[in-house]
Amino acid sequence: MSDTVPKPRPRPTPTSQPYWDALRDERIVVQRCRACDHWVHYPRSRCSKCLSDQLVFQVVDGAATVYTFTVARQATAPPFVDEVPQIITIVELAEGVRFTTNLVDVAPEDVRVGMRVQPVFDHGDDGMTLLRYRPA
């Protein structure tokens, strides 16, 4: 029964739409501030370092390292019961930005802080693409 609970899905905003559109095309874009060069994620209307509105999406290759992680041994919420044990991580890109994501194609016991990971584009039936990661 629990696997019938619908999963919460991202609902893009006018500001974040280019990020989600890019994921659907299997590209990763991150905002960069023209005023101070700061990389900004999640997408914002103003820079989280200098509050400039000169933010421009730039394509990045998405190669990352595991910054920290956990393994949800019980579902964090009913919609995720079918994904247990779910590896939930923060990954860090070379640009310094961090994403909340999941690791796939790896056993929970093999995950380490600092391990190198690469993007996996997980296309959903609803037209949304989640950015997950697997060992590089």
Binding site: P8, R11, T70, R73, A77, I88, F99
Partner: protein, 404 residues
């Protein structure tokens, strides 16, 4: 600059922490009035003297205007009122705000109450709420959390605290003995809970090995190092020095405080995990109070998880970063030990009655300093360091209190 130590805690009261509440359900306003009247009785202060309140976001009958709703209900004419929205740090943050308002001279008796018993429910209440299956605090369209965290199963709070614990251990020690040291925090606090009949885990001692043998919830955190929600409530009355001198019990003066926050979700912490906000707060609070860490007789630290306590001890400057595991191994953290932490059992031993869990640290420090703690009384009991933590290490606040 800062507090001058001219406002004191003069009254405290709480409900026992209960896993199952079988009494008559009361609305949060009714609980507010009841708990406050008990704390005022403890202070020997009449309700008519109350001229300030600080509440937290637990007045569930109202979407807003909480202070005015409480004032009207309790019949208080207030010169200062505030609602604090700092999650688990709210209670500690409320207490320093009350002291600051008193020192400013705009009021002289302030009540801080946190309600935590179940409220009456209409059978047909809020179908929307019942249908909600994901416990995220930011839920609506446009919330970064709902867009960038929730779809990946990053639902607070276990995941976020596990993020801190994983990276902490990767940096400072990931051997079984290191995890056993973290687990010892829960075991030592349980020793204290076994001396507190109001604790949900009263009479149930555990060992560090029991903690690590308990169910793994979110690596590396086990069920016995995660707070259990329960029912309860607490209240604190603060008064000016002049008013405190006419109160029957030993006044407990606030001499230092501070708070800091910068993120909501750990993914976007501007500080490298596991650095937490308290690292900005402790030095300021100690400088304000004019006392040293070595002068502190006990620590009452917000303990939603073992890792929270470990990081708070380290980053409050009681040892170096990464030195907390060794400090825990070398010291008995119970009420009878060399480094007493959460002498009432903390929320890990007592249960977490909502926002009142964070207030329990203030109540315990007050009762210890008064010398009212019976068989869990710490030997030297003049000063305490108290912290509150909200969200996922998002907001933290500290208090330094000293008995007169």
């Amino acid at each position: 600059m800062g507090l001058r130590g001219e406002a004191a805690i003069v009254g405290v009261a709480d409900y026992p922490s209960e896993r199952v509440y079988s009494g008559t359900r009361q609305f949060s306003l009714e609980q507010w009035a009841d708990l406050s009247s008990r704390a005022l009785a403890d202070a020997g202060i009449a309700s008519s003297e109350v001229n300030g309140i600080v509440c937290v976001g637990d007045v569930s009958e109202s979407a807003m205007f909480h202070p005015a709703t409480i004032a009207e209900y309790c019949g208080w004419s207030l010169d200062y009122a505030e609602r604090v929205d700092l999650g688990g740090a709210s209670a500690v943050a409320a207490v320093w705000r009350a002291a600051a308002a008193i020192e400013l001279g705009i009021c002289d008796v302030v009540v801080v109450t946190c309600t935590g018993r179940p409220k009456p429910e209409l059978p047909s209440a809020s179908p929307q709420e019942r249908a909600r299956t994901v416990n995220a605090s930011s839920w609506t369209w446009g919330s970064p959390q709902s867009e960038f965290e929730v779809p990946y199963g990053d639902i607070p709070p276990n995941v976020g605290f596990a993020f801190y614990a994983s990276r902490y251990h990767a940096l400072y020690g990931n051997e079984p003995a290191d995890h056993l040291a973290r687990a010892k925090i829960a075991a030592d606090q349980r020793t204290s809970a076994c001396m507190n009949p109001n604790a949900a885990f009263f009479g149930k001692p555990i060992t560090p090995e029991d903690v690590l043998a308990s169910r793994l919830i979110a690596d590396p955190l086990h069920i016995l190092e995660i707070v259990m929600l329960c029912h309860g409530g607490g209240s604190v009355v603060l008064a000016s020095k002049a008013r405190a001198q006419r109160c029957p019990k030993r006044p407990v003066f606030l001499t230092g405080c501070g708070e800091h926050l910068a993120h909501k979700t750990p993914t976007y912490s501007v500080d490298e995990i596991p650095r937490t906000p308290i690292s900005y707060v402790a030095d300021r609070a100690f400088a304000m109070s004019g006392i040293d860490r070595s002068d502190i007789d006990m620590l009452q630290l917000y303990d939603c998880y073992t890792i929270t306590v470990l990081l708070t001890i380290e980053q409050s400057g009681f040892c170096d970063p990464g030195g907390g595991l060794d400090l825990v191994r070398r010291n008995d953290l119970s009420y009878k030990g060399s480094f007493p932490v959460n002498t009432h059992g903390g929320m890990l031993g007592m249960g977490q009655p909502g926002f009142a869990g964070g207030l329990s640290m203030v109540l315990e420090a007050t009762r210890q300093i008064r010398g009212e703690c019976g068989n869990r009384q710490v030997r030297k009991h003049d000063t305490a360091y108290i912290t509150g933590t909200g969200g996922i290490m998002s907001e933290q606040a500290a208090l330094i209190v000293q008995g007169a």
